[in-house]
Symmetry: C2
Subunit: 221 residues, 2 copies
DNA sequence: TAGATTGTTAATCGATTAACAATC
DNA sequence: TAGATTGTTAATCGATTAACAATC
């Protein structure tokens, strides 16, 4: 039997974490258009979602609103950004300067979303020492030391599946705690490491199944 | 009140659709190593998942096994591939030949996962007419006609958010039914269109929140 | 046969949705 | 005040997990 542990705060629902950025993006556009306050039913109408669900989601960020009025827009945005850690961007190392890695290195606006890629790593000597999208490419074996010295806690893996486990272990060795893994493989890491898998094949599966189902169901239309 | 409709088959759980590729990948490696049959408890042990959940997931593909023995490996793989539509790869058009688009064009093995990218589209005249990763880049306005003539039903959007809605509407106009959207924006499309959003900012949110939470919780360790 | 695993039904759990009092 | 919206509690829904009979 597991005793309740005060330290071990109840994790936030994954679904909520994935909806908050949606609200955030919409609220930012509202802010730009000069709006100063907003209500859940309003957001719900504009995003075609359920107002109660939105209220529950916003509640997790700790923001409070006023009946009849709604929320102060700037306040709401600030709460979401703080809750997601976006107001304090974490530096990240990216490993695997291939085409996908290069694309991510060039992604603008990760800074506004809690992450700043400060360097890339690759095992290819031809790439080491060069700049890709303005970011230095370093040799992989430098990673653990550098991560520790620079206090980098976030890593992105964009190497092929075959090399991902080794890269992940180097990251953990360097004290990295959160890994965004784009390699199509399940990493085996210590439990305290936070891993988010961005497995495109898994993602594609739901789309292809639904399309296949829709193609086979139709007989006439 | 909604009457039960035999045509409208109950949708498969999204979570199941996302786990099937995991099993598939693992089973393929088992197949390569010469294994011919496999049981749920075995898979569960190797992937650190629950055996009952795996059995339920496999059940949705329609495969049947034998008590005590398990499933015939080749049979199981074939059922997953058929269920996901991977045994009959759909042709796809990709719009937005930027760095992310180019990375996807170069992705090997989409063919084994139900999708074959046959051409790319871009509004940049400098790119139109060239080859990227061996795929022709065409002018965007050619898309609807070509999609209809070639019977292409799947589209991938890798343009910036500002252009995504227009691209999506062109796709729908061309008869495309399933869209894999990498642009960070919610598309407004007819209900019959299947959309899968691959919003990296939303995805990053869960990772950054968990990291931020873990950084703030620790006082000593 | 004994034992392990499938197939299936029931129980649990968590997230979504509904209901409603408090309040501005 | 009347009406709309928040905050919160209860009900519903669906997915996960457990239980167990059938079977090889």
């Amino acid at each position: 039997m597991v005793l309740p542990n005060q330290r071990h705060e109840r994790g936030v629902a994954e679904a909520t974490l994935r909806r908050l950025p949606l609200y955030h993006r919409h609220l930012k556009t509202l802010l730009e258009s000069g709006v100063t306050s907003v209500s859940c039913p309003q957001i719900a109408g504009e995003l075609a979602l359920d107002p109660t669900q939105i209220r529950k989601d916003l509640e997790t960020t700790g923001v409070t609103g006023r009946p009849k009025v709604g929320y102060v827009l700037a306040d709401l945005i600030a709460h979401i950004e703080h809750f997601l850690g976006w107001d304090n961007a974490k530096e990240a190392f990216l490993v695997g300067a291939g085409s996908l890695g290069a694309a991510l290195l060039g992604y603008m606006r990760f800074e506004e979303h809690g992450m700043s890629i400060v360097a890339a790593f690759d095992h290819d000597d031809a790439k080491v020492g060069t700049l890709i999208r303005g970011k230095h490419v370093l040799a992989i074996d430098k990673l653990p030391d550098l991560a520790r010295r620079m206090h980098v806690y976030m890593g992105i893996i964009t190497v092929p599946a075959s090399g991902a486990q080794d890269v992940a272990e180097l990251m953990v060795k360097g004290g990295i705690r959160a890994i965004w893994n784009f390699a199509p493989i399940r990493l085996r890491l210590p439990n305290h490491t936070i891993v988010h898998n961005e497995d495109l094949y898994c993602s594609l599966a739901s789309l292809s199944q639904k399309l296949a189902a829709s193609m086979s169901t139709e007989t006439g239309v």
